[in-house]
């Protein structure tokens, strides 16, 4: 699990001559309207860790490969895996998603449509979203049993996001449907963040306020079609911080706290991302020294 993530990260570092430096928002669960720059690729390894009351400590990892298909369209592939102490480490499935911005300008509230297909199993513990009646007890099931459950699901999100005076505020409404059976399940995610320092300094700095962003996320389930509401659902609140370490690498950390008895008491998250600007140019010999062609 970790080898896969680490190998992905190293692969990206090899392309250090083509880095891009835009700092990402410090969110693990919530999406904003910010898209990947067209032609750029971002690879991120996200790990979430927790311990259910009657279970062992787990580490759920997602390796996220995000590509800017267009300026208004971002595509992503997630490869999920999971390791549980005293049990096993297993591959738990993949997710394919697309995010599309229907409005071509910046507005007070910017909508994004999110469509995802996921083929995962019941042992998945990446906690990339909480929907329906997902509760901490589900995470206590042993890997051998949980992996037998197939979850082929379609997930839709309406992402609403705003930038106000340096703050980003994002709200996600989530609907998820198992394509074979089971009703629609719903969830939500809310987040806000801002850079520690708004104005960039003229000097290079790596460990300073302008390279860091702080924020908080809140997310949870809203039941399903048959029982819409917060009864028997889990909810979390998580402060979050990211740091643009060097070139295009960003480190994000977030300690999360369960807000009711159905939630894990703590969820610790760690993410490392690396962005390769204009990926396609790496494979084109004629991409250099073309200045003036669009003059």
């Amino acid at each position: 699990m970790f080898r896969l993530s680490f190998a992905s990260f190293l692969l990206c570092c090899m392309f250090s001559s083509a880095v891009a430096g835009a700092q990402e928002l410090p969110y693990f669960v919530t999406y904003s309207h910010h898209m990947e720059e067209p032609g750029s690729l971002e690879v991120e390894a996200k790990t979430s860790s927790g311990q259910p009351q009657d279970g062992d400590v787990f580490y759920g990892t997602s390796t996220e490969i995000e590509y800017g298909t267009r300026a208004w369209w971002t595509s992503e592939l997630y490869l999920d895996s999971q390791g549980t102490v005293d049990e096993s480490t297993i591959f738990t499935g993949f997710r394919l998603e697309n995010r599309i911005r229907p409005l071509m300008r910046e507005h007070a509230v910017n909508p994004v449509v999110y469509v995802e297909f996921e083929d995962i199993n019941g042992a998945n513990k990446s906690l990339l979203e909480v929907v329906g009646h997902d509760v901490a007890a589900d995470l206590a099931e042993d890997n051998r049993t949980a992996r037998m459950t197939k979850e082929r699901e379609v997930e839709l999100k309406l992402i609403l996001s705003s930038n106000v005076k340096g703050w980003n505020v994002s709200e996600n409404v989530i609907g998820e449907k198992n394509i074979t059976h089971a009703p629609w399940e719903f969830g939500y995610a809310l987040a806000a963040s801002r850079p520690l320092r708004m104005k960039a300094s003229s000097k290079e700095c790596h460990f300073c306020a302008e390279t860091m962003q702080v924020g908080a996320e809140m997310y949870g389930g809203l039941g399903d079609v048959a029982s819409l509401g917060t009864h028997n659902t889990s909810h979390y609140f998580a402060p979050t911080l990211n740091w643009a370490m060097f070139n295009a690498a960003t480190l994000t950390v977030s300690p999360g706290f369960g807000l009711n008895d159905h939630s894990l008491s703590h969820v610790y998250r760690l993410g490392v991302s690396y962005e390769i600007g204009q990926l396609s140019r790496l494979f084109r010999a004629d991409s250099r020294n073309v200045e003036g062609t669009a003059r």
Partner: protein, 127 residues
């Protein structure tokens, strides 16, 4: 159903060259609202702004426009008369909104003050 998909694909193929042809032609300037066009740069007299803008440009803009801002492939040069003549307000509007249909992303994720710093640097570029 198959016919509709085929028609959509053909339409997309026909539209693609038209979209590409309008890249870098400055069409976006026509869409800038007057109130944005006349905005002045609050960092106009900040002696550090151009250097800070250069730093931001090299991390955020150079992957597409080139480290020398002279353009790369279909990404337009910023060392042009058109960019020189654009007002600070117009350039900040472009950074904030992008030109999504033509490949320019929105940089609204940057705080406004950083967009003004980039504008200072872009306006200081030699032609």
């Amino acid at each position: 159903m198959k016919r509709i998909s085929l028609a959509c694909s053909l339409l997309a193929l026909l539209m693609a060259p038209l979209l590409m042809a309008s890249v870098g032609t400055g069409q976006w300037l026509k869409h800038v609202p007057e109130k944005d066009r006349v905005r002045s740069n609050p960092l106009a007299h900040d002696s550090d702004a151009t250097a800070a803008g250069a730093k931001l440009f090299h991390s955020d803009c150079a992957p597409c426009h080139g480290a020398d801002a002279a353009g790369r492939g279909s990404r337009p040069t910023l060392r042009s008369e058109r960019v020189r003549r654009a007002t600070d307000g117009e350039l900040e509007w472009l950074l904030r909104n992008g030109n999504l249909a033509h490949g320019m992303p929105s940089w609204s994720r940057l705080p406004e003050v950083q967009r003004w710093q980039i504008v200072r640097y872009v306006h200081a570029l030699p032609i």
